[in-house]
């Protein structure tokens, strides 16, 4: 069951095409990474999902229903451009934003208290936003995003500008949300930053989707069958099916080598051969990062 489906979404601005035939399926209770360089169309797609913009053509289904205005109540959105009313008090601001999402007043107040307590900010409830540090403002904004317990949480460049401590707090909270049943969309151009969190991934490039699917499957598909080995004593050469791509000395007698094995070949065989020759300190498969996959995919296309 998909929580969100986009079907052939097209959107153009006066001077350029922002989205071309974008079809995505976002499974329920998953963390979905919407990746791509700046200007690929990620924010436009998100704005269409949040009803801020309208697509020129195509349909969006939320829980199998065609997306409507009142669906915004089941969506929580943290825009890339963060901002709150500077002269408004923390508590009032959260209450206002929650009520705009249709939350009942007393329920909203309870939840605000709960969240402020959780993120250790209860003492700041009566302060104006402008009196808060940047990091605290971001926490408030995160609370505002999830206060109405949306089914779909969309985070645009979630970690840009957050300090490392907050990044960890927010990461934990995101995983919590997912475990409680929410679906999360991450959008970012710094692909490595969310790679570990995502279950599903879509890559956008110049308004088009160039790759999508389960992260596991994609990684599988882009396996290089290369292994990196740290060892003591030089390699004297391996059997014909193995190719030594690189071998350099780290210090005195320690070496770092990269070995290519044939597809569908068991690395244990390689290991056996290595053990005879050298003392092995590290043996690991080289898994390409999302960034590398992206680059190879883009160069493949052009």
């Amino acid at each position: 069951m998909y929580l969100l489906e986009t079907q052939n979404i097209n959107k153009s601005y006066a001077d350029h095409q922002a989205l071309t035939n974008i079809s995505l399926q976002i499974p329920k209770q998953s963390i979905f990474g919407l990746l791509g360089p700046n200007g690929a169309g990620k924010t436009t797609l998100i704005r269409i999902i949040t009803s801020i913009l309208q697509a020129d053509s195509g349909t969006i289904l939320l829980n199998g229903e065609k997306l409507q205005r009142n669906h915004t109540q089941s969506i929580g959105y943290l825009p890339e451009e963060r901002g709150l009313y500077k002269k408004m008090r923390v508590g009032e601001q959260l209450l206002y934003l929650a009520r705009l999402k249709g939350l009942d007043r007393s329920l909203a107040i309870d939840r605000i208290k709960h969240w402020l307590q959780k993120l250790e900010m209860l003492d700041w409830r009566g302060k104006n936003i402008e009196d808060l540090s940047k990091g605290m403002q971001q926490k408030i904004q995160f609370i505002a995003t999830v206060l109405h317990e949306p089914q779909l949480v969309i985070l645009d460049e979630p970690f840009s500008g957050f300090d490392p401590i907050n990044v960890n707090i927010i990461k934990d909270e995101i995983l919590n949300l997912r475990d409680k049943g929410a679906t999360v969309i991450f959008s970012t151009h710094i692909m490595d930053s969310v790679e570990k969190l995502c279950d599903h991934i879509a890559l956008l490039y110049k308004s088009k989707k160039i790759l999508d699917g389960k992260k596991k499957d994609i990684k599988q598909q882009y396996r290089t069958n290369r292994f990196e080995i740290d060892h003591v004593g030089p390699l004297k050469g391996l059997g014909g099916i193995y190719k030594i791509m690189e071998s350099r000395s780290l210090d005195e007698n320690r070496f770092h080598s990269i070995v290519q094995i044939p597809e569908d070949h068991n690395p244990n065989q390689l290991l056996k051969e290595l053990i005879i020759q050298t003392e092995i300190h590290k043996f690991a498969e080289i898994i390409p990062s999302m960034n590398e996959i992206f680059i190879s995919k883009v160069s493949e296309q052009s």
Partner: protein, 434 residues
């Protein structure tokens, strides 16, 4: 709808709670009352300055005929005009009136000497006294007896009344003129003040980037309307508080002298001349009477209608500008076309007040961009109902049109940062699908 109300409430509460709002609301009526009081005081100070006129009556016809008044004191001199003239400056009187031996049929050669140009009121008083006395003498000579003369004497003071379908009302040209001028200026001031507040509010949301969170919950148009309505409520609150506080301050001012309107009249009659306090209250009660001649209720009602109508019209244009620009500096070029009709209205107001039923007045009170200021200038003089109805309908049509245009540009503008915006860009945004 419920969400628009949330926006309205936020806009209203955050503004009304501001210190600047409270200070402005409380201080303005006090300043205003102070200003009126000051003007009254100055007027009075002018009035009580007494002129002394020395009279040399060689004709012997005007003995004791010159009666002292509030402003003029007459003294009779028993000396020749030459002596009086030679020591005039030492003597002290402000004027020297010389009446030579007169031929009653052709009274000539009466002279008034003074150092400075004599006051109009003084000349008037002297001339009328002389005329009245000579006329009396002539009548006696013609055989009209004294008693008959007294019975002929009539005193007319014209009451000006304005005739409308609602019946006749006492009117006073000065009060009407003043009301028209003040209410026009006030509406001009309000449209500007609150229009700019809308613009600043939109820019604040755009620049603080909070906008994207908000419009992921409600439509941009709802947000814009909520903001405009919320600020309108702030404006109305301020206006009503000003009206109430002004009345309170004026009444408090009267009470400070221990008097109300009726007592004031009574006391000034009994206390006689020279009592400043009673003069003050007399002047005050005159003002109260004048105020009674102004159609206050209809001025208030039309003020509120035109404030709201004009405000919606201009506020949506100001919102448009606020959404299009990134900084105050950029807003200038778009402010100009909005402010020009307002400034033209204020300039044209002087002509309109002189001729409130003329062509300029009529047409400018129909065009929605100028009608709020101009119509308020016409209302105290009385405006036919059909003109009011037409003007208000046009104004409503006008603001529906401007909010529609502004809404289309606003939804694109609020999400656009960093690009230099021109009128061409605005047109493009207007036609853009979103």
């Amino acid at each position: 709808m419920k969400k628009i109300l949330l926006v309205v409430k936020r806009e209203y509460i955050t503004r009304v709670r501001k210190r600047s709002f409270i200070v402005m609301t409380l201080l303005t009526p006090i300043l205003f009352a102070g200003l009126i009081g000051g003007l009254l005081w100055v007027a009075m100070a002018n009035k009580v300055e007494e002129k002394v006129i020395a009279v040399i009556d060689d004709s012997g016809l005007f003995k004791d005929k010159f009666q002292n008044t509030d402003g003029i004191h007459f003294i009779y001199l028993e000396e020749s005009i030459e002596t009086a003239k030679s020591k005039f400056s030492h003597l002290g009187p402000d004027g020297l009136l010389y009446i030579p031996k007169l031929d009653i049929q052709n009274p000539k050669g009466i002279q008034l000497f003074s150092e400075t140009n004599p006051h109009f009121g003084v000349i008037n008083k002297i001339e009328s006294t002389l005329e009245a006395e000579i006329e009396r003498i002539k009548m006696v000579q013609l055989g009209v007896d004294q008693q008959m003369l007294q019975s002929i004497e009539t005193n007319i003071s014209l009451n000006t009344l304005s005739l409308t379908s609602a019946g006749e009302k006492a009117s006073n040209a000065t009060a009407t003129f003043g009301t028209a001028y003040v209410s026009s200026l006030l509406i001009y001031f309000f449209l500007f003040l609150y229009g700019v507040q809308v613009m600043k509010g939109v820019m604040e949301e755009k620049n603080s980037k909070v906008i994207e969170v908000i419009i992921s919950s409600i439509k941009p148009f709802q947000l814009m309307m909520g903001k405009i309505v919320g600020i309108a409520a702030v404006g109305l609150t301020q206006f009503l508080l000003w009206v109430i506080l002004s009345f309170a301050v004026i009444n408090a001012g009267l009470l400070m002298f221990g008097l109300d309107k009726d007592h004031a009249a009574l006391i000034s009659e009994t206390a006689g001349i020279g009592n400043k306090a009673s003069e003050f209250t007399q002047a005050n009660s005159e003002i109260m009477e004048l105020m009674g001649t102004i159609p206050i209720t209809s001025v208030l009602i039309t003020f509120i209608i035109y404030f709201l109508g004009g405000y919606f019209l201009y506020a949506s244009l100001f919102a448009l500008v606020g959404s299009a620009v990134d900084s105050d500096a950029d807003s200038q070029q778009f402010m100009i076309p909005i402010t020009i009709p307002l400034i033209i209205s204020i300039v044209a107001l002087q002509f309109v007040l002189l001729d409130p039923d003329g062509q300029i007045a009529f047409w400018m009170s129909m065009i929605p961009l100028t009608s709020p200021v101009i119509m308020l200038g016409r209302v105290p003089f009385g405006v036919p109902f059909w003109q009011l109805a037409l003007s208000i309908s046009l104004l409503i049509g006008g603001f529906i049109f401007t909010t529609w245009v502004a809404g289309r540009i606003y939804r694109v503008g609020i999400l656009t940062h960093g690009s230099k915006v021109s009128y061409r860009t605005l047109t493009k945004w207007f036609f853009q699908n979103y």
